[in-house]
């Protein structure tokens, strides 16, 4: 059943902001409280909000289970691949091979007190992004599957 127009309008308005906030928590995981799991969960709440505001059928049409499941597996694969890639450099599994290389997220950390540079952390933010992708896919799929058993009252 569709919620009232007010709820739907508010949900539409909030939806992009929730997604941006989730992305912010994921991307700043190595600097501020939060990280992949928390950000991915916030991201999934955005999707759940849309499911609550609209009927299940509409929501399923908008967020395909296949794409969400692909997000889940892609996130997991990226995570393990980043850890495995360290072996190619002759270092241990999970070694932070991006840090201090000048690649993306690879800038050196400035010594002393500083407000925090997003472009640091090496594989840690990259793994946060992978975990975020995995969690948003997995939590959304769980909600969609739980709702798939419900039936609308006449």
């Amino acid at each position: 059943m569709n919620m009232s127009k007010v709820v739907r309008a508010a949900a539409n308005l909030l939806f992009p902001f929730i997604l941006i906030f989730g992305l912010y928590i994921v991307a700043h995981g190595h600097l501020t409280p939060g990280g992949g799991f928390q950000g991915g969960a916030v991201f999934a709440t955005g999707i759940i909000l849309m499911i609550v505001a609209y009927r299940y059928e509409t929501a399923v049409g908008r967020f395909s289970k296949d794409i969400l499941r692909n997000c889940e597996f892609a996130g997991l694969l990226i995570f393990v691949s980043l850890a495995l890639a360290a072996l190619a450099f002759g270092t241990g599994f999970f070694y932070n091979w991006v840090a201090d290389t000048g690649l993306i997220f690879g800038a050196s950390v400035a010594p002393g007190a500083n407000p925090g540079d997003l472009n640091t952390g090496g594989v840690i933010p990259l793994m946060n992004l992978a975990v975020g992708l995995e969690v948003l896919g997995a939590l959304s799929v769980i909600i969609l599957y739980m709702l798939s058993g419900t039936r609308e009252e006449a």
Partner: protein, 524 residues
């Protein structure tokens, strides 16, 4: 990858490879079923090969340590760390390697078997991903040298196991069994993490070697010990907390049950690791040893007496699994009870421990074999009820032979492997306390009695009309069972060699706490 890299990173790859394969399975399965099956088989074969490499290193060179995330993973203590192991470290000693080999053989046979046995069901992408995650959880539990990391792999083991138990829906009955297992394992997991917190709060360390070097057996340590033992004994299926095993083992698909046996033994490994390596002589080894012995005797006796009255073949085997766990607890418990007395340890303590540890791999092999034969019978006939089965000896000859091998091994009849390990337990336990040895023998006789009954009702008798068109199990399932049968017979024919080469080093590693500490923290 060159062989050098594989050898150097074996402790990491043994986790990384099944993990990677599990995550890629659903993606591959979306495009081709054949490719997915080949992928799973290749991944499991590669994992087993790495397990062999790792075990070879441990048995020839000694304990292997691996620091995750380090530039040089073989140095557990970075120079600037001040002698504190700051990273997650895998400490693979002979006992861990022994468990790794057990899990690898079982995992390989089960994977091969499940490629056919589950082929009639839907949702197999998830099934195989979870199967590989369960194997990852088992391997991680037995390799890790970090108490918190142990909890993580315990959870992985439990959650993957619960989902797999519920896989064969079965009008909700399997889901109930899976849910029961999930709840119990979650409570057990909470116990473990609470105990970890108690230890971390006192000693500021999570590394098992670091904790072992600092532990003092304070009041809080006693609480932590009780929590750890209760949770891990539950996971192993020892008696006061065995009630999940009949449900879980009977409702899970046959292939999964064979692997759940190994998953339970990873819990048993946890019990041994905690009492011998983490606490060692600081705890009251006589009292704790007797507690483990009593748990073992209760498991043995209650398990077998409950098994005698079962009508469902897998429920019956599940109670037997409880009973067999009792033998391992008895053997190792006797070793623990005389831990501080070197004379008694040399006289019979070490032999009892070797018997108990040898029984772990034997049990994984023949009990896995029996569960696989039960799965094959269910695959062909669609029932597990002993009163409805009969006359299958005419059509399923190979399955019958494998069943006989498994049944004779579990009853401790020579020349099968169960006899070898049980004899070691009887002889050494008799020197410790004759009554315990007599109970163990009586239990063994009851076990033979119940398997004679099962054999008679499944395979003997005239060919039944309703099973007239039953055929032999498909070849990959037979090969899966064959691998376990060959190991069962081989270990029974050359027990002395196996004990000398694999079991004695494992028992020695378990007793040698200072060696374990030194492998991480450096010389003593």
């Amino acid at each position: 990858m060159t062989p050098g890299i594989i050898a150097q990173h074996a402790p990491a790859l043994i986790i990384a490879l099944p993990l990677f394969a599990a995550f890629a399975t659903p993606l591959i399965g979306r495009y081709s079923r054949q490719a997915r099956d080949a992928w799973i088989f290749a991944a499991m074969a590669a994992t087993a090969a790495i397990a062999a490499v790792l075990a070879y290193q441990v048995y020839t060179v000694g304990t292997v340590v691996y620091a995750f995330g380090a530039a040089a993973p073989h140095i557990p203590l970075p120079i600037d760390s001040g002698g504190i192991p700051i990273r997650i470290i895998f400490t693979v000693d002979a006992m861990s390697a022994f468990m790794v080999v057990t899990a690898a053989i079982s995992g390989f046979a089960v994977t091969l078997y499940s490629l056919i046995s589950e082929s009639k069901l839907t949702g197999r992408d998830g099934f195989y991903a979870l199967l590989l995650l369960l194997i990852t959880g088992i391997l991680g539990m037995v390799c890790t040298g970090d108490l918190f990391n142990f909890f993580v792999f315990l959870e992985l083991n439990s959650i993957a196991g619960a989902a797999l138990i519920a896989y064969r829906n079965d009008k909700g009955v399997a889901i109930e069994a899976g849910l029961k297992y999930a709840f119990l394992c979650t409570i057990g997991g909470l116990f473990v993490i609470f105990a970890t917190a108690l230890l971390y709060g006192q000693y500021n360390a999570l590394n098992i070697a670091m904790l072992a070097s600092r532990i003092e057996f304070t009041m809080l340590d006693k609480v932590a010990l009780v929590l750890l033992l209760a949770a891990l004994a539950m996971k192993a299926g020892a008696v006061p907390l065995h009630f999940w095993t009949p449900d879980a083992y009977s409702m899970a698909p046959g292939s999964i049950t064979a692997l759940l046996v190994v998953a339970s033994q990873a819990g048993l490994y946890g019990v041994f690791r905690v009492v011998f390596t983490l606490y060692s002589v600081t705890l009251d080894y006589f009292a704790v040893g007797w507690i483990i012995i009593v748990l073992g005797v209760l498991s043995m006796f209650i398990g077998v007496t409950m098994a005698l009255v079962q009508k469902d073949v897998k429920r019956l085997m599940a109670y037997h699994a409880v009973s067999q766990t009792g033998y391992m607890l008895l053997g190792v418990g006797v070793g623990l009870a005389v831990l501080g007395q070197q004379g008694l340890m040399d006289a019979y303590g070490l032999v009892a421990m070797e018997g108990g540890i040898f029984h772990i791999i034997n049990h994984a092999m023949y009990k896995g074999l029996l569960f696989l034969t039960a799965g094959a019978i269910f695959y062909r006939t669609g029932t597990r009820n002993l009163n409805r089965l009969g006359g299958l000896g005419h059509s399923m000859k190979w399955t019958m032979i494998f069943f006989i091998i498994g049944a004779l091994a579990i009853a401790g009849i020579p020349p099968f492997n169960g006899f070898a390990s049980k004899l070691m337990i009887y002889e050494s336990v008799f020197l410790f306390n004759p009554l315990l040895a007599i109970i163990a023998m009586v239990v063994s006789i009851l076990m033979l009695a119940s398997f004679v009954k099962v054999f008679q009702s499944i395979f003997m008798g005239p060919r039944l009309p309703e099973y007239a068109d039953v055929k032999e199990a498909p070849l990959p399932m037979l090969i899966g069972m064959g691998i376990l049968a060959v190991v069962t017979v081989a270990f029974g024919l050359a027990p002395a060699w196996v004990v000398d080469q694999f079991v004695a080093p494992a028992a020695a590693a378990l007793v040698n706490q200072s060696g374990y500490i030194a492998s991480v923290l450096g010389g003593l």
